[in-house]
Symmetry: C2
Subunit: 388 residues, 2 copies
Amino acid sequence: MVPEPLAHALRGAAKVVSEEELRAKLNLGRPLRIKLGVDPTSPDLHLGHSLLLRKLRDFQELGHQAVLIIGDFTALIGDPSGRSITRPQISHEEIERNAATYREQAFKVLEEARTEVVYNSSWLGKLRFADVLRLNSRVTLQQMLHRDDFRGRWEKQQPIHAHEIQYPIMQGWDSVMVNADVELGGTDQLFNILVGRDLQRAEGQPEQVVLLMPILEGLDGVRKMSKSLGNYIALTDSPDEMFGKIMSISDELMEKYYSLLLHRAMPPGTHPLEAKKTLGQEIVSTYHSTALAEKTRAAWTVRFSERRLDEAELPAFPARTGDAAAVVVAAFGTFKLAKSRSEASRLIRQGSVQLDGKKLSQPGDQVSLSPGQTLRLDKTHAVRITAA
Amino acid sequence: MVPEPLAHALRGAAKVVSEEELRAKLNLGRPLRIKLGVDPTSPDLHLGHSLLLRKLRDFQELGHQAVLIIGDFTALIGDPSGRSITRPQISHEEIERNAATYREQAFKVLEEARTEVVYNSSWLGKLRFADVLRLNSRVTLQQMLHRDDFRGRWEKQQPIHAHEIQYPIMQGWDSVMVNADVELGGTDQLFNILVGRDLQRAEGQPEQVVLLMPILEGLDGVRKMSKSLGNYIALTDSPDEMFGKIMSISDELMEKYYSLLLHRAMPPGTHPLEAKKTLGQEIVSTYHSTALAEKTRAAWTVRFSERRLDEAELPAFPARTGDAAAVVVAAFGTFKLAKSRSEASRLIRQGSVQLDGKKLSQPGDQVSLSPGQTLRLDKTHAVRITAA
């Protein structure tokens, strides 16, 4: 059964500019070009991206063409959207390494036949200074600094480097280069995508429709799920990682995850633990397989629900003294958790790490581990302290 | 006799950043590279430039190397310094046409042997977007918008187009590319030249000394002498034009012109008319020849000083009705004055144009010329109205 196009296109969307224009484009009788840009600033696409990939997929189901832009050029700057500080720049090598895997990851959701994958370095990398000047002449600093995040930094007198305002211009030029009919993004992308409309108009192209999806909060329940905040579930996470991460989120987040990821309400009256297991299972099922999802749920239930985590079975970790962040990296780095000092510091600050039930509070505090104590990261990860 | 280097280098300068650094560079015992950039946004170099060219010449006399940058790339934007609105862009063809004559004009002042002439398109034209991003990452928008003219426009909510802030960055990159030891400019160039220091430092180069000359007011006595304001004496003006323009300036301006152009005070007690003639003669003598200068002065004296301009000898102009600006263009365009509507409007607004001794006030006012009247532009230009 073919879904009703406008309703299907808008399912789950947070905002559209404008519904009227979208309706008109859907009636053109040709496949629309639906643009989604993703910057390869980390090795993994994550569930936050999946909302957008699935929206692209919705359009594919209506017969339209997905245009996935791997932002290997824009990644050089990093999108300053929603950031309160200048983003650190990333190396060419990292970008290339990350970009190489994005295609495959995206096809966990997209139909390959109706997807065009392009790299924006192929046009942005060729622009010369004179071209850049021409594009820049089409926007004003006032317009740029009116953007929420820039304005916030301006008002707080935090530096905004001159290259940062090139980001929206580059993203907008991408729309011109791929002849986008619709651009998808999170709600924090409104400004950037509108710049695309400006540049398309200046080039005599019809303006793209802006279709924004809600922002998925990360595992911390507070901030946007994002590569650079490290609070994400990657599409390439193993079934155990995916399931475990879902089990670790707060009960309050569940409702939103159900609505955004499963497109349905959380069943009323369900115990949160069961609701989480169902969510975890469905997500593993989408990105791995139904069989693996069932197996993962069962194994988790055996390990954690039906009996208490047996302290005696915990991995051993030799007693030591050091600052809290260093100790956490040493104890949990091998579990692929708290691999870096900054990740450990974040976990400590958010109160996740407990020594014998007492939260560590500051990454720089001195911590002394004694044999017999338990250092716990979350429900599923803890170590038992042994003699050094 | 070799002049004392520091004193000669600073003669007539308005500001130096810093004298200490300049002294140290002068003691390096090698020819310094003294940069002056000129954008070919009009066909002519003018007396405003001559202050800077003569300062370059001062350095040449001390054995240093002049690096004259023809800003054929920067001219694409035009320097927004000191401007209250976005500057109109100029075509590639115009720029090339203008640039072609600059070399020859500059050598009216500079020693050819100690002058390197370079075009900044030869490096700026090759920069790619990634290079532009790198340079932009070294400055902040706060720094740019702190500049007087940008700040003024910002506060008045006048648009500042994003390409305009590239100007100081380009000018700064020029300094890196030519390894400038000293950059010369008018006092409105302080900000731009300091950006050059920033970029040189970022590239590990010694920072250039900033040496600023006073701004020469134009013929209107109010605004900077400038190509785009049309209030200038071109180095290529004919002896008659040069002399005539000097004779048209206000008595108040004379003192400054003496000091800046002749490096001496106006002789006290001289009649302003005589002082002007002397100034005019010396300037014609510099840019043409002593013989021509004497001849021009003598001819002018015969025509204008010894007898009153005879109304009967004025060129005839047929009576007509129209708006003031259009009438002025029609009447004086052939004299190479008031060639455009905007120039005519400016002259009318500043009260230069009189019909039978009565000033025209608004360019848009309806004006009706009747046979027998005199329409006068300045002391040397007027037409006698005849039957249509």
